[in-house]
């Protein structure tokens, strides 16, 4: 077991290194650096001035060296610009280089300076992650019980009318990406001109013009502002997890031991709850864990659509504003989330399923 976990961890570390390097390389392409120079320096800089700015600010030199600096395994750059001011990665321009640490990368907790937030990346990113965490918590609370329930009810009696209705519903939700369900939900429930809201406000059921709000904010979490974003993310996942649960449930329900239990006279409800459920829920567990990367996509779309200032919104802003350090920070978080969920799903699967033995 330990060797298995150690090998998985080693592979994960290697993946993380490769992936962050790819992101680093792509965000630090010369055209991006030139754009950065012009937005940080001045728009009317000559090409020579841009090249000089890039060198003065430590973006010259080889990509691998700069990646090492960003990671914190290579000493940070330092130089003196033409005005004689010492500049470096690890200290503010003008202060004494001798006092600064020589290594300052993400390993040392220095995630760099965000040009969009005009501040260090780490606290800003942490705050946004917190906001997304709240959103995700509600998504999980809505998504997991609903999807498991749908899957179990559908898989309990394969081919029944309940099964067909619920399966159609699951297929329909997997065919509806977040940007479609979000748009449709807003049009139906949060628009003052179409859908339910004008009717309800005419009847006097609701005070305002709209039923739910089409925008959400981490500072004011209410039922009316959170329902639509949470529902939008959850819907896409519900169909998928429900289908997996259904497949696994139907398989278990045809197993020999279920038939034995039925023949011994155990009631249907007891068979489902005590015998089938535990085995049927192993496969969905893996699926739920592997769903996290997908949820990450959903989060980016929904936060953009509902203007919720969380992690996904930050990623879009960072990419749109060429904020290299912020984008790198976002990708570290994203890659970390994906790899850790993969690891948990693998290990959890082994724990849950005693039939799998590790060689």
């Amino acid at each position: 077991m330990l060797i298995f976990v150690a090998r998985r961890l080693g592979l994960m570390l290697l993946s993380a290194l490769v992936l962050t390097f790819v992101v680093f390389y792509l965000t630090n392409l010369p055209p991006n650096l030139e754009k950065l120079a012009r937005s940080e320096g001045s728009v009317r800089m000559t090409d020579e001035a841009v090249a000089q700015w890039i060198i003065d600010n430590g973006y010259g030199g080889s990509v691998i060296g700069r990646y090492g600096q960003w990671l914190g395994v290579v000493p940070g750059w330092s130089n003196v610009d033409e005005k004689g001011v010492p500049r470096g990665r690890c200290f503010a321009a003008g202060s004494d280089p001798a006092l600064a640490p020589s290594y300052c990368g993400i390993l040392q907790g220095d995630w760099g300076y965000s040009t969009y937030f005009r501040g260090p990346v780490l606290p800003n990113l942490g705050e946004k992650l917190g906001a997304t965490g709240v959103l995700m918590l509600w998504v999980m609370i809505v998504m997991i019980p609903t999807s498991l329930l749908i899957g179990i009810l559908a898989g309990m009696r394969e081919g029944s009318r309940t099964d067909r209705v619920l399966s159609t519903f699951s297929i329909a939700t997997t065919a509806t990406p977040e940007y479609v369900s979000g748009v449709v939900l807003v049009a139906l429930l949060a628009s003052p001109v179409t859908g339910l809201s004008p009717l309800l406000s005419e009847w006097g059921v609701i005070d305002g013009k709209i039923l739910f709000q089409g925008a959400a904010s981490p500072d004011r979490i209410t039922f009316w502002s959170f329902t639509l974003p949470v529902l939008t993310i959850a819907l896409y996942g519900i169909g998928y997890i429900a289908r997996m649960t259904r497949a696994s449930m139907t398989e278990v329900m045809t197993a020999q031991y279920i038939r034995t239990a039925r023949l011994k006279g155990v009631g249907f409800r007891q068979v489902v709850l005590r015998h089938a459920l535990r085995n049927a829920l192993i496969a969905p567990f893996t699926v739920i864990m592997l769903q996290f990367p997908w949820l990450l996509n959903g989060v980016v779309i929904v936060e953009t659509l509902f203007n919720y200032k969380g992690f996904g919104w930050t990623l879009v802003v960072a990419a749109g504003n060429n904020d290299i350090n912020l984008l790198l920070g976002c990708s570290v978080v994203a890659v970390f989330v994906v790899l850790v969920t993969q690891l948990i799903s693998d290990i959890g699967y082994v724990f849950l399923n005693p039939r799998i033995r590790l060689s």
């Binding site: 392409l29 754009k35 997997t174 509806t176 990406p177 479609v180 449709v184 049009a187 990367p293 984008l327």
Partner: protein, 420 residues
């Protein structure tokens, strides 16, 4: 003339789609008539779910093909006074021969939403199936030998596939689908060039420097160069494994494939087709390549899994005993037996690719800013979502119905292919 009621709008849309209905009716009549002779495709018409799915998919396919007959207006042209108008509004100042109404309203830039949705079908369906097919070619060409041989080759490829899969899709799109990356060429011989020569190479108009030393490709072109070669490799190996006992025939077939394949390859990947028949816009190429790149690893994993399962079968052992080569066994004995799950996954994956393309459009990374494809129109429409939802809802429902149709079709196919 006055604005239309909802039922009148519906009737007018149905009338406008008459060419599509005719094509659909003919397809269904012929298919059901000959369904016993049509193999798996014919069996599809035994399952109601599969038929509904097939109908929805073919509806959009015919809409895309016959879009020129279906549209009521030029999807790119703005009409004065029609900005954000609701459904069924009369066209202000219609000239002779113009259609009288904006059936599904006007968008933010006063264009006809209905016509844009219809043209969007063409835009989406010209990319999604082709991109999926390329992803399948890459996945099959790499996945079959990885599953059959195993070993280092398999370990290495699986690691790379997992790497790509661990990348959050949207982040990858934001990094790959940008205008900067299209323009930026990476010079292959920069290590041998002086700084001045390198700058001269990078400047677009410089022909002064040695052109060979200046050889460089942008990242999307490099990806295209790698990904687009796989169909040629696949078909060549396929034919070679079948006909190598008959060199005359083999040389003819493989030769034809190589000539046509490399001709298309030079045009599509490098935009250097000497005859100018094959070409792709740099932006389109970028979108296309990114979508193939994201899909290929999943296909690889599926194919690898199926092949690992099938290679323990008796007919494989029989082939090995007969002394058949590994490529013949892989491509002509294992692959045909894996076609059921692969066809099902192909349908599902076209839907997934459609969703991905929509995501790209939604983030404004689409083919062109004024393109009528559904993702871009949803992105444009959401800016006025609260007051004028129709501009975003119409393409959203269109996209949903296409993907739903593909999912139902895949479900029907799965049912029918499991039955035999």
């Amino acid at each position: 003339m006055e604005d239309l009621s909802y039922s009148a709008i519906l009737i007018r849309i149905l009338i406008q789609l008459v060419p599509v209905w005719i094509a659909l009716a003919v397809t269904f009549a012929v298919s059901i008539g000959f369904k016993r002779r049509l193999g798996l495709y014919g069996k599809l018409f035994d399952s109601p779910v599969g038929m509904i799915g097939f109908g929805m998919v073919m509806f959009w396919v015919f809409t895309a093909l016959l879009a020129d007959m279906v549209v009521t207006f030029d999807p790119y042209a703005p009409f004065s006074g029609m900005k954000n108008v609701p459904l069924g509004t009369v066209l202000v100042g219609a000239s002779e021969g113009d259609y009288s109404h904006f059936l599904l309203g006007g968008d933010n830039l006063a264009r006809d939403v209905f016509s844009r949705m219809v043209m969007g079908a063409r835009s989406v369906l010209s990319i999604a199936p082709a991109a999926t097919a390329f992803a399948f070619m890459v996945g099959i060409t790499l996945g079959v030998p990885a599953g059959y041989f195993g070993g280092r080759f398999d370990t290495g490829l699986s690691f790379v596939a997992n790497l790509v899969l661990a990348f959050p899709v949207i982040l990858l799109f934001y990094l790959l689908v940008t205008p900067e990356i299209v323009d930026h060429r990476i010079l292959f011989f920069s290590a041998f060039l002086s700084d001045a020569a390198e700058l001269a190479c990078k400047a677009e108009d410089s022909v002064t420097a040695d052109t060979f030393a200046c050889f460089g490709l942008s990242i999307p072109t490099m990806l295209a160069a790698v990904l687009f070669i796989f169909p040629i490799i696949f078909i060549s190996i396929l034919l070679n494994a079948r006909f190598f006992t008959n060199p005359m025939k083999r040389n003819l077939y493989v030769g034809i494939v190589l000539v046509i394949g490399l001709w298309a390859y030079s045009g599509l990947a490098f935009n250097m087709d000497p005859l100018g028949v094959w070409s792709m816009e740099p932006n389109l190429l970028n979108v296309f390549v990114s979508v193939v790149f994201v899909n290929a690893p999943t296909v690889f994993r599926i194919v690898r899994g199926i092949v690992m399962d099938l290679k323990a079968r008796d007919y494989v052992a029989a082939g090995q005993t007969r002394g058949e080569g590994p490529w013949y066994i892989m491509l002509w004995e294992i692959l045909p037996n894996a076609r059921g799950p692969l066809i099902v996954d192909f349908c599902l994956r076209i839907g997934y690719t459609t969703i991905l393309l929509g995501t790209l459009g939604f983030f404004g990374l689409g083919v062109a800013p004024d393109s009528p494809d559904w993702g871009s129109t949803i992105d444009e429409g959401r800016k006025t979502l609260n007051m004028f939802p129709h501009a975003a809802v119409v393409p959203a429902l269109a996209l949903m119905s296409l993907v739903l149709g593909l999912n139902l079709l895949a479900d029907g196919l799965r049912e029918e292919s499991l039955r035999d």
